[in-house]
Symmetry: D2
Subunit: 418 residues, 4 copies
């Protein structure tokens, strides 16, 4: 099957940089999207189990968000607002407070960094360092926190780290849950380093963690491990930052992925699905008493992406005033787990809510599965240090039929590539 | 005049972080915007001579861009596309090639980093370091290149630098044009450091420069200084990066602010007004032979902000297929300069195209001018290391009457605060 | 007992910096020394079980070294020679080759850095980074490698690290043998980090290790752990640097402390007892094929301390042409271990050869033991992250009687402070 | 003339590392030395106008120092004393106070770092950073402060910097006196950076300077420039560190090279000639109120090199209780300057006291002059970023005849290589 004619190079090949990547895995030109499906310019549909790397938890062009967005833009609402006060921002803040913060009794202030995940992480790092007066931030093996220099120093992937072109410093890596195969008590090494003034670990300002490592290969930490980490942070005077950029906004069931563990981080980063519509937006949340910023001490031109406030408000109103979405996500976790368990891949499927990973023997096989799935009309991608894990991130709004359809295609792709 | 009742704290005060800043200068709640004007929730109009810090060169909700955007969103075009190939991206690339690159014979590849300026700068730094295998990047006094850790190391402002919480390294600062009051030949110090192997300056990978420093106080480099810099970079084997995030997209007249000087940088960063509609978008452009990226070596979730591609395409089609906008901007430069020259502030007005600065004795006075202007219905802000410069960035689409009106209000604000 | 009258402050108190330390533990003024004994200005003798922190393995003013030194100085031999070729250096090199390198078939080149341990470590780091083109060097918990900035980044002690005043970077810490209480297989964590490209550990240039950590609390690695480390370095392409500054020159029995484990490091640092007479001298040894230095690429004014070459040559001639010293040291290890085992301190004594540690409940007790020992005429000091370990480093030339005497005093000091 | 037979490689070539350098310039094997002369193993004399790179200001094996040293060693004085109080250290401290500190009313405490220059510089950096809580230290173009990582970051030479293998940071370079050819007012650039909060220069902890840059090419700062620098440091709250390692101990006339300018630095480093006999020793001096060290916060095994204390005491007693040496050095400066002025090299000779440089067209010529001088029996070396400066550092105790003889040989070497 040839999706792009090889007669002459396209503008993507002649003008766009070699850095482009997903377009190589999915060699067609997309035009429209609706709910769980993308359509290419020839009208061919693709079931989307990648969901913008977790940015489209409510599906593509969700009508409940689209209507308010079109009204807002049609009515000449503010599009670009720096950090001016706007009615759109006010509605978002009020809604975020009433649907997210208040019900969970979370004592957070809300900061709008530049509207990408890495900007939120950079803000969190600055704040943690400012509050504590220390420099070291601890992250975990196979973590991914972004590509700007501060965030990249926390990221595990060797290739991405090498891209920095300068040494990455002021960070230390600790083993994520399961990393040492269950042969070592949780936090034995980390706590030993902290308690021993001769360990060489400078007292960290903070620890940053993903509850489920998406880019790292869908590694899901146990709730007790997360509780142990929160306890360690409290006892050893380190701020706990949960990077909920990919796993927040309901991906694992609850709005925040850390709720299941019953912990309250000091700082939380959100992005990806917070706007609900795929529009750039990010938040940095932190305990009220940590709000020691000077005005403008961290800023960014697009930190007031007002159209995103509008869709974010609609998404919260639609999906987070009751527990329906959460309940459905948690129910579907079992469906997905069962289906993946029958794939016969190298290891058991792993995940939570609607983020799942299937590990294969190597990256070559996993990539072949994704290629074949694409040919069969399903978008999925690999993750993990060696690309050996096929990652599933369907929209949370996926229908039962779509879910079955996608899992069926995946099963065929696995068989075809055996 | 009381714009916000002090009866009880607003949600901005109770929920939003103390880091907010512009909302403090302009104490009202904005709701709508059109062309050169913003309207607050009470319907009060404000003439906008800040234009989203240069992100709204074509004004607010420009109808020529709004129509295609509403059509695109209404028709369920792709909103979030990572770096998949989409029809919206193709149209943008083709249009950018035909209206921007080809007419200027610029040999650039186009990279889409995360859609904020600092992400584009971080990408440029990585590329320069990768291509050259060196680490040091030179920036200039009073430069502003962004707030993530890599960009912040290039930024001059002491307060913003201190926010990093870690030492900022792998950079060196050189004097910008005029910095030493004309008492020193251009590049005497810089070239001496480069030619002397005992100078302690490690051979730089690149030099990054703004042709006009916006945040730094509207310092406009002379064309001959820029040519001298380009020549120095060529002779001394350093890449020249022009950060055209604020000054590009026609702000100084030509599409790129460096065109007037007749130079061709190796790398160019664009953001702010590139989408034309205030939507987050950024580009990193570089010579074809520098395109040594591995696929995905630098990435970001929102690098394919397709609605922004739509408005960006419309903006290029509308304003950059002929020279009308450019010609008008250049003509108006004279109008603004003349008007500002009569303000009687401390020094002569400075600027190019439609970016101008008026320096006052100190930051207190300049802030008072901006406060008074706000009361009189004009949005302007200060810049410079001590906030001593009032900066004017009207939309390029401002009408003659609006321009006169704004300049008149400014004159009154200056008189009232004398 | 008052050793220093408190009538008026001494020149040590009024002129010497507060940074002085040992003089606080041993409050008297020393004048002469011979063999295992120091004498203060009142003629009071002290048995020296500290031996210049391992710099006086052959005792004070050893006659076999003193004679050639006096002859050399009396005959106007070169004292200061930079790195000129001198007859004294030639004799040292020839003797070092014939007594140390050749019998052990060690393929090393010899470098003379500045004559302190930290200078040798800095040289080793530079070389490892130059040879591999990488930056990260791995050290171990509770390591001590020196106080200049490069070495300090490898050192574990929090107080000493804090003294840097800048972040210490380009290093990573791994658990030393026994660090996790035997609950974790050797190198499980280290190897996992190396094999996983997503671990966040940048591929190290080298690993630096002490076979027995002196400052760290007399932690003695098992031979099999050292072999495992050497194997790991070989398999994972990292240079192995043994810092034998304190444990080399026979302290553990063999000339090099790593001989017992049967490993051959890529790089070895020596200092302290290499001159044999307490004169500043240090060496950096490395495999022939690693000798990629440019002439003068690392240098230092006192790298040719010729009087030290003279005593070093005499020491090698006297003690390393046969195995008598080694055999005696190994025999005495058993004596010391047995005596210490009867002290009833918190844990079993630990050590090898003639370096031993006795751990007490806390630093307060250990310091009390040392203070009492001083009053009883024995010089010993604490080590370990909390100063909780009393460290014994008698001269290797100590007599049987002196050894018994010292161990007896120590036992009394322990009893008196119980 | 063949000084070393090329029959078979020497032990220097087969065993010593390629890093050796001076032995390449002076290809013979030295054996003895006395006063201003070295003798090789064949008895051939060489007049020494290099003086151990400034470590032998009182000549080789000066009898006034040799006698006390032999007595001390012969009488079993303490050789290695860590930082214990010893009678030798007391005599040194008392003598240093009475001959150096008190007559000049210098309010300094004395610290003994590891006995090499770079260790003293590392100590000074730590102290400056600790006292101020800041990280940046400013050094000057063509500075040389040592080879360990902290000092190397202050050093200008590109080759030596590259040897670090890691980026050198937390420093900034400023133009030394004359660096910009007199075309720029002193400190224009430096002060502008300091006064402008947007300059990108983080407020420095300290400035470190050599009054005459020896390695950098014998660049002698004017007294008024040094006074300007001291004034700048005072006004802008930066500590002033004078690195007097090569230029102190009378090299420029006065004991400290900064005395002529009438300034009092906050911190001073001394090494090289402080022991007077070529024995490793170094000092870090600082104002009493800066003595904020914790005990042992910076240490080093050989910081109590007691034989060096003995010769240092003798040197101070012999040469610094009156002004005879100083007067003679200042007189001879004129002799040397006149003689060098007749060499007809590229530029005028430069220097102060008994440190002088003659610049040639390029390094090749300067090296040829040194080679020819060696053949004619004179030891001189090149310096400067391109090795283009022949540097003269005769012992201060050189006789009139020796001085004439050396200058005569140099003149012949210049003629022979023309």
């Amino acid at each position: 099957m040839t999706l792009i004619a090889d007669t002459e190079p396209t503008v993507f090949e002649t003008v766009e940089s070699e850095v482009r990547s997903y377009c190589r895995s999915w060699p067609t030109v997309f035009e429209r999207a609706s709910g769980s499906r993308l359509f290419d310019e020839h009208g061919r549909p693709f079931l989307d189990f990648f969901a913008g790397a977790g940015s489209l938890n409510y599906g593509h062009n969700n009508p409940a968000l689209k209507r308010p967005l079109l009204d807002y833009l049609g009515g000449d609402g503010i599009t670009h607002g720096l950090d001016m006060s706007t009615t759109a921002k006010r509605r978002f803040l009020e809604t975020f407070r009433s649907t997210v913060l208040a019900p969970r009794a979370l004592p957070y202030k809300v900061m709008f960094p530049g509207p990408t995940g890495t900007n939120a992480v950079e803000a969190a790092l600055k704040l943690a360092r400012k509050v504590t007066g220390r420099t070291t931030v601890v992250s975990f093996t196979n973590a991914f926190h972004g590509m700007s220099l501060g965030s990249l120093a926390l990221t595990g992937n060797a290739g991405k780290r090498a891209g920095a072109g300068v040494p990455l410093s002021h960070t230390a890596q600790m083993p994520y849950d399961h990393y040492l195969g269950g042969r070592v008590p949780d936090f034995l090494w980390f706590e030993r380093l902290l308690e021993d003034s001769g360990s060489g670990l400078d007292h960290p300002a903070a620890v940053i963690v993903e509850t489920v490592q998406g880019e790292g290969g869908v590694n899901a930490a146990r709730a007790e491990w997360l509780r142990g980490l929160a306890d360690l942070c409290r006892r050893r005077d380190m701020l706990l930052i949960v990077d909920d950029i990919q796993m927040g906004c309901g991906r694992t069931g609850e709005f925040f992925s850390f709720e299941e563990a019953g912990i309250t981080p000091d700082v939380v980063t959100l992005s990806k699905s917070i706007s609900g519509y795929g529009l750039p937006m990010s938040l940095c949340l932190f305990r009220d008493e940590l709000d020691v910023w000077e005005p403008g001490e961290h800023n960014g031109t697009f930190r007031g992406n007002n159209p995103a406030f509008v869709t974010a408000t609609a998404a919260l109103d639609t999906y987070w005033r009751d527990t329906a979405l959460r309940d459905r996500t948690l129910r579907r976790a079992a469906t997905v787990e069962a289906a993946l368990g029958e794939l016969g891949a190298g290891t058991a499927p792993r995940g939570r809510g609607l983020v799942w990973g299937v590990e294969f023997a190597d990256g070559e096989r996993a990539r072949a599965v994704c290629r074949r799935a694409f040919e069969l009309g399903l978008l999925v991608e690999t993750s993990g240090p060696g690309d050996e894990v096929v990652k599933l991130l369907p929209p949370l709004t996926v229908t039962d039929d779509e879910l079955d359809e996608g899992l069926g295609i995946l099963a065929r792709a696995v068989r075809h590539t055996a």
